[in-house]
């Protein structure tokens, strides 16, 4: 038996023993995932047992080095772990932005001491992170951000406002882009800084969307004092002062990769199983075809596109594991995933007709077709709009000239 076969056998046995039955229902909605953090309370005993078992193996962050709370798995081993987990439809033991976005950036740019504190905090589910990037005046043109960060000797002083901070109201720390030099060209005066959300002067206000309740918030910084360091070598700034754009770009690639492949996005009622849903709602004609020929064609085309997309995620992962990194092609996955997700929920609304457009006594019901359809409009805006992704593909993949 090869080492990998051995690993697969061990992993399968470990999952069989330690993944509770109740945790084998997949990561369907954000609500049934384990997010961790200071405010976190396990939703069930099974969820707690599954998290603790994974933590002990380093499987909350399987590819991170052991000293930072991971299991140090190779890409091949990590793929096997994912396959085996998917095989029994197991939930992820822990999910959050720390794992998928900040972690990879810290691994690339952090000091040993920063990694020790923050990566381990993430791996252990102790700290829930949120992302402070966008501002009211800095959306697609993110580098024009204006949140002001002044050097006050032993501390930084921060004033300004962030927007679209997902889950800021229930997060413990924020990784934030701030302006440390207002005179330099816009990309050269930005710093990447880590801030405790419990700091004095931070306030948070949730945003109501067209879909109703949302995880998005506005975050205000009013004379917030941030220490230069949280301990020996453990600075609050990641990378160099005024060079935060490099860290931000690295992190955005991970974010796009995540948005292009993360199951909650594709699980948000994309095109899968549209056909059977339509057959149930609309019915079939005498020849056994959906009794709405135009809609039938659209559904089938969407299912074909969805299938090709899913295979492309698989192929690009295989290529990455074979040593050909995804790079800017992650923008293709992000673009395709967002458009398909919107398409899927649009078709569901079409299938549901006027019934799907009906709301409850308290407004749009959570997780209803309408709720998902409205919320999904955000997918081609957040994490870099569809138009920004197309710009990136043009410039970085196709190398088309700049204006």
């Amino acid at each position: 038996m090869s080492d990998l076969e051995q690993f697969r056998a061990e992993t399968r046995a470990w999952l069989a023993e330690y993944c509770p039955e109740e945790m084998r229902d997949g990561d369907i909605t954000a609500e049934n995932q384990c997010w961790g953090g200071r405010q976190w309370e396990f939703q069930s005993d099974a969820q707690k047992r599954w998290f603790e078992a994974a933590l002990e193996k380093g499987y909350t962050v399987p590819t991170w080095p052991k000293e930072y709370g991971g299991a140090g798995l190779t890409a091949d081993e990590a793929k096997i772990l994912t396959e085996e987990r998917d095989r029994i439809n197991a939930r992820k033991p822990l999910s959050n932005f720390g794992i998928s976005m900040l972690g990879p950036a810290l691994l690339a740019y952090g000091t040993h001491e920063q990694k020790l504190q923050h990566l381990r905090g993430i791996a252990r589910g102790e700290i829930r992170w949120c992302q402070g990037y966008s501002e009211p005046g800095a959306g697609s043109d993110l580098a024009s951000l204006k949140t002001k960060c002044e050097d006050k000797g032993d501390h930084w002083l921060i004033n300004g406002q962030k927007i679209w901070t997902s889950n800021a109201d229930i997060s413990d720390w924020i990784f934030c882009l701030v302006r440390t030099d207002f005179d330099a060209p816009k990309h050269k005066g930005i710093t990447f800084i880590l801030i405790d959300m419990a700091s004095e002067g931070i306030s948070v206000k949730p945003i109501v969307l067209i879909s109703g309740h949302s995880p998005f918030c506005e975050t205000f910084f009013d004379d917030v004092k941030v220490p230069k360091a949280y301990g020996e070598g453990n600075l609050s700034v990641v990378g160099e002062v005024n060079r935060g754009w490099d860290v931000a770009k690295n992190l955005l690639v991970h974010e796009r990769g995540m948005l292009g492949t993360l199951s909650p996005l594709r699980g948000a009622k994309g095109p899968e199983n549209l056909g059977s849903f339509a057959a149930e709602e609309i019915g079939l004609d005498d020849a056994g075809r959906l009794d709405d020929p135009a809609l039938r064609q659209k559904i089938a085309q969407a299912e074909i596109d969805d299938w090709a997309y899913t295979l492309t995620v698989e192929r690009m992962n295989d290529e990455a594991n074979a040593g050909n990194g995804l790079g800017a092609k992650s923008s293709m996955l992000k673009y395709a995933a967002s458009e398909l997700t919107k398409k899927g929920s649009e078709l569901r609304m079409d299938i549901g007709g006027t019934e799907a457009a009906t709301i409850g006594p308290d407004g749009i019901e959570y997780d209803s077709l309408a709720n998902t359809w409205l919320y999904n409009r955000a997918y081609s805006i957040l994490g870099g709009t569809t138009e920004v992704q197309l710009n990136i593909i043009s410039k970085r993949v196709l190398e088309l000239p700049s204006a």
Binding site: G275, L284, Q297, L311, S394, L400, P401
Partner: protein, 379 residues
């Protein structure tokens, strides 16, 4: 199985790319077209391809093939799609070889597979009877006669039918015109006196034939597969054809796009490269994404044919649909983004546009396969 090529398959790809760009580029297709070459391909070149093992690419080694499977055939077809290479590869080495290898008797395999591998016998598949692909709609009649059958009827768009030595004909032995059961495949000599072939040159500079058969007498030995159960074999042959056509169209999409992006980087208007205009950039980026999606779909269908041939039908349909839509978009955009020269005969993008159109129509366009998928999924 990983969704990437193995080292061996990558070597085949490099070899095919080198050979075809050298010996069978788009200029060679123009020459064949402009000289009104009656074969529609170069026989000497076909012999060279056979000598390299391409003609027997899917055939088992014991019959003289190179046993590279459908992924191997797709790798070659993709490079042929890039170069618009005209050859009997598709009709003989994909359709003919699949028919004999998967559905032939031992005797038929011994008799024909070697002659496919060495390039000496050309095959053609006669299935459609009207302008649109409808493989269940078979009226071509096989009526019992003595110990065998008598064949009579007409077939349209038999690709390479004008040069084929052997024809595989789908005929009705029982049932009604749209009934999948009751179809039987016959393997017959193309030059039989009862067969009248009319050469039909196509818009893509490839060639086909309309075929009329009037009372051709055949025996049980000429049957390929099961009597009345020929639709299953036809499905298998068509699935292989659809996946490989998908690979060819994927190659054409990629090359038409490469020509176009080169042009976007070089052509100037309003004092700047036209590739700097966002209106064109976003369309190019969308198309690049579709091309990546298509590559995955095509490779998956080819791998499945090698892995579990009988279960590949739906996947091959989806690959054909996806590659067809992408190829159409790629070649339409190629013409539009080139502007005036895009519609000149001198420029190559028009040739890609024409080839892709015929490949789309062949064995079902995207709408046909979407319909099949929906039916199969119960809606």
């Amino acid at each position: 199985m990983s969704l990437i090529l193995t080292e061996e398959q990558e070597m085949l790809q490099d070899a095919a790319n080198g050979f075809l760009t050298e010996n069978a580029p788009v200029a060679a297709l123009r020459k064949i077209r402009d000289s009104k070459n009656p074969d529609g391909f170069c026989r000497k070149l076909w012999k060279e391809m056979a000598d390299m093992g391409w003609a027997g690419i899917i055939v088992d080694e014991k019959f003289g093939g190179s046993e590279f499977g459908y992924v191997g055939a797709g790798v070659l077809a993709e490079q042929m799609g890039r170069n618009l290479t005209a050859s009997p590869f598709f009709s003989t080495s994909v359709l003919g070889a699949t028919a004999i290898q998967h559905y032939g008797t031992d005797k038929q395999k011994d008799a024909h597979l070697g002659a496919i591998c060495d390039g000496s016998t050309l095959f053609a598949l006669a299935v459609d009877e009207g302008p649109r692909h409808r493989p269940e709609h078979i009226e071509f009649a096989a009526t019992p006669h003595g110990n065998g059958y008598k064949l009579s009827g007409a077939k349209t768009f038999v690709a390479d039918g004008h040069v084929a030595d052997k024809l595989i004909i789908a005929a009705r032995t029982s049932g009604e015109a749209n009934d999948p059961s009751g179809i039987t495949l016959f393997l017959v000599d193309a030059d039989a006196a009862a067969i009248e072939r009319t050469h039909t040159p196509m818009i893509d500079s490839r060639n086909a034939a309309n075929i009329k058969v009037d009372g051709l007498e055949v025996t049980g030995d000429d049957i390929l597969g099961e009597v009345d159960g020929g639709y299953e074999a036809l499905e298998g042959i068509l699935s292989a054809g659809r996946a490989v056509l998908g690979a060819e169209m994927s190659g054409s999409s990629q090359q038409a796009f490469a020509i176009t992006t080169d042009y976007l980087k070089e052509r100037e208007q309003f004092g700047q490269k036209i590739g700097s205009f966002q209106g064109l950039q976003h369309r190019a980026a969308h198309l690049a994404t579709e091309i990546e999606m298509t590559k995955s779909a095509v490779l998956k269908s080819l791998q499945l044919l090698d892995d579990d041939f009988d279960s590949a039908s739906a996947t091959c349909s989806m690959a054909k649909a996806k590659s067809g839509m992408t190829a159409q978009l790629s070649t339409q955009e190629a013409i539009q983004m080139h502007g005036g020269i895009g519609v000149t005969d001198e420029y190559d993008v028009g040739l890609y546009f024409k080839r892709v159109h015929v490949a789309q129509q062949m064995f079902g366009d995207a709408g046909f396969h979407a319909d099949r998928l929906a039916k199969r999924s119960g809606y």
